[in-house]
């Protein structure tokens, strides 16, 4: 089976290796990598048949990229096309599936081939359940969920082709790209404190932020806490935010709904603090404390300010 992996400039080598693992899981023998916005140097060490480095001449929108993708699709006619499940990859997979009439699933967490089709798994029902989708008619277009596949380690020396692609977007009048500024990157902290709706107020959220600074811990937030205006969007942890894997994650005042758990489930240890002893989060954490989050954070902050708490940790 031929497979094509579609990459953007912001996809990393680790993500590409996850895609390669997914392709191999589906039984792909010949794998072609189509790297839009040019191929990075590391693509030349991937176990693939060929790398096509596609230089686009202007800001690329999924509409025009999907049209352009058709040109490469017709050359190889891959039965399987894989995208990374970020915004760009999902949007492109959806648009191209309509053009090529392929079967489509986004953010898959598993894939296997069987006689007559492909079976994939993905999360559904507020991430509470796993859905298993069986497709019989190719081409099969899937975007993969981050951190769901191994990173294929083996090395290779693929062939390289370079093309320049003029894109047409007649509807576009202006374009501005604002790179992310001062994004709170939680991935480097050994300990991350998460604030949920149960913090109860912006004051408690600010105290949690101060506590994080004193302890040298990262501070993240659940979706309700962010949309209450207590934390910036760059601190959102969960299905639509950052997925973290610190050594220790302490969660204050969160119910433990599935989207949050998806974001923290790879933590080494999870401690939950909640006033409700029956809160769902206690089913999914390692240790629990039943109590008022505001009061406990206040006490922790007071101790930290008095120097009774461990001093700042070094970031990994």
């Amino acid at each position: 089976m031929n497979a094509a992996i579609v990459l953007s400039a912001h996809n990393s080598e680790a993500q590409a290796r996850e895609l390669l693992c997914a392709a191999r899981s589906a039984g792909a023998q010949n794998i072609f990598i189509w790297a839009f916005h040019g191929a990075a140097g590391w693509t030349m060490h991937l176990p693939a048949q060929q790398v096509l480095s596609i230089r686009v001449t202007q800001p690329s929108f999924v509409d025009s990229l999907a049209d352009a993708l058709g040109r490469y699709y017709l050359k190889v006619r891959p039965e399987l096309m894989l995208f990374y499940g970020d915004g760009w990859g999902n949007d492109l997979a959806v648009r191209f599936s309509h053009l090529c009439g392929g079967s489509l699933a986004t953010n898959i967490t598993g894939i296997r081939r069987f006689d007559g089709g492909v079976r994939v798994t993905r999360r559904a029902y507020g991430l509470h359940l796993v859905s298993e989708l069986t497709f019989q008619r190719g081409p099969f277009l899937f975007s993969i969920d981050g951190d769901s596949f191994e990173k294929l380690p083996s090395a290779g020396v693929p062939g390289l082709m370079v093309e320049t692609l003029p894109l047409q977007t007649p509807w576009r009048l202006r374009y501005e790209l604002h790179p992310r500024e001062q994004v709170e990157d939680l991935s480097g902290y050994p300990v991350v404190l998460i604030g949920g709706r149960g913090l109860g107020s912006k004051e408690n959220a600010e105290r949690l932020m101060r506590l994080g600074t004193l302890l040298g811990a990262g501070v993240g937030a659940t979706r309700p806490a962010v949309f209450n205006g207590w934390f910036g969007l760059d601190r959102l942890v969960g299905a639509s935010g950052e997925r973290i894997q610190p050594k220790l994650c302490v969660v204050f005042g969160a119910s433990g709904c599935a989207p949050l758990m998806l974001g923290i489930k790879k933590s080494g240890r999870i401690i939950a603090v909640n006033s409700d002893p029956n809160a769902q989060i206690f089913d999914a954490c390692d240790e629990g404390v039943v109590g008022d989050c505001g009061e406990i954070i206040g006490e922790m902050l007071a101790k930290a300010e008095r120097g009774e708490a461990p001093k700042a940790f070094l970031r990994i």
Binding site: P59, F61, V62, D63, D86, G87, W88, D91, V94, R95, L99, S103, N107, R122, A124, Y125, G126, L127, H128, L129, V130, S131, E132, L133, F135, T169, W171, R172, L173, R174, Y175, H178, P179, R180, P190, V191, L215, S240, K247, L248, V250, C257, I271, V273, F282, D283, E287, G288, V289, V290, I296, I297, G298, E299, M300, A302, K303, A304, A309, F313
Partner: protein, 265 residues
């Protein structure tokens, strides 16, 4: 300007217990009695359209707002939409559960969007439960043949009839000026919550009914393969050990020592 917002009313799944989720996975669960609410991203799309209407009225540009949903939806949601200012509310009937049939939903909405005078701007939420397919907006834009902006968080209407769309991007955010028609899918929007209707507006809207939109079945070339779907519940880790603490001060000390231990390892 004619604006169409595609929305869905879905069961609130955040409070689903593991036992309930397991029962649904085994095919014996029942969500009919679950609390219903606007799809999280759809709610932002509905509010965004109202804000655009306010902007357009200030610019003295005529505007009509329509909202459409596919499948079952209680009347109180339609009443709420009329009460907060929607001119038209359309329901496209569906006899079966389309949670895992995004193409059929997109096709039905495309038929509506192409009917009558058509629409200049189509808004939708990026994705909704329980299917979490994240496909309907992109497919709908493809079927309508119009530009698509995913992960939009804000939209401004300019006096020249174009729009300025701000969207989350993988490395930051973008602002794009675009001619209409276009479709924007909202996610993590600047205004994520839908405004509340005044009681007098609710009373005034209580007798309004939504339109029913019927359309002919998909032509043969648009008959899509729909996957066979099976659901199952994945056991999550349990065995939480409760830490002993009588007072907040004791709890704070216990947590700080846990953090210290972790930092030293």
């Amino acid at each position: 300007m004619n604006i169409l917002v595609c929305f869905k009313v879905a069961p609130e799944l955040d409070s689903l217990t593991p036992e309930e989720a397991k029962a649904i996975g085994e095919g014996c669960g029942d969500l009919r009695f679950a609390k219903l609410s606007w799809g999280v991203c759809d709610e932002a799309a509905l509010e965004c359209a109202l804000r655009l209407r306010d902007e357009l009225i200030a610019q003295k540009t005529p505007v009509t707002l329509a909202a459409a949903t596919v499948g079952a939806c209680p009347q109180r949601f339609f009443t709420e939409l009329f009460a907060i200012g929607y001119d038209r509310v359309v329901q496209i009937p569906a006899e079966e559960d389309l949670s895992f049939a995004p193409r059929r939903i997109a096709f039905a909405l495309s038929r509506l969007a192409q009917s009558g005078e058509g629409f200049d701007l189509v808004l939708a939420g990026q994705q909704s439960s329980p299917g979490e397919n994240a496909q309907v907006p992109g497919l709908l834009a493809s079927m309508l043949g119009i530009p698509y902006f995913g992960r939009t968080f804000d939209i401004a209407c300019l006096k020249d009839g174009s729009v300025e769309v701000s969207s989350h991007a993988d490395l930051g955010w973008t602002r794009v000026g675009a001619r209409l028609p276009a479709l924007c899918a909202l996610e993590n929007a600047a205004h994520p919550f839908l405004r509340m209707a005044l009681l007098k507006n609710r009373l005034g809207a209580s007798k309004k009914t939504c339109e029913q939109f019927e359309f002919s079945a998909a032509p043969p070339e648009l008959k899509f393969e729909e996957p066979e779907v099976r659901l199952h519940y994945e056991h999550k880790r349990g065995n939480c050990r409760f830490l002993e603490a009588e007072t907040p001060s004791e709890a704070a000390a216990t947590l700080l020592s846990s953090i210290a231990r972790e930092a030293m390892l």
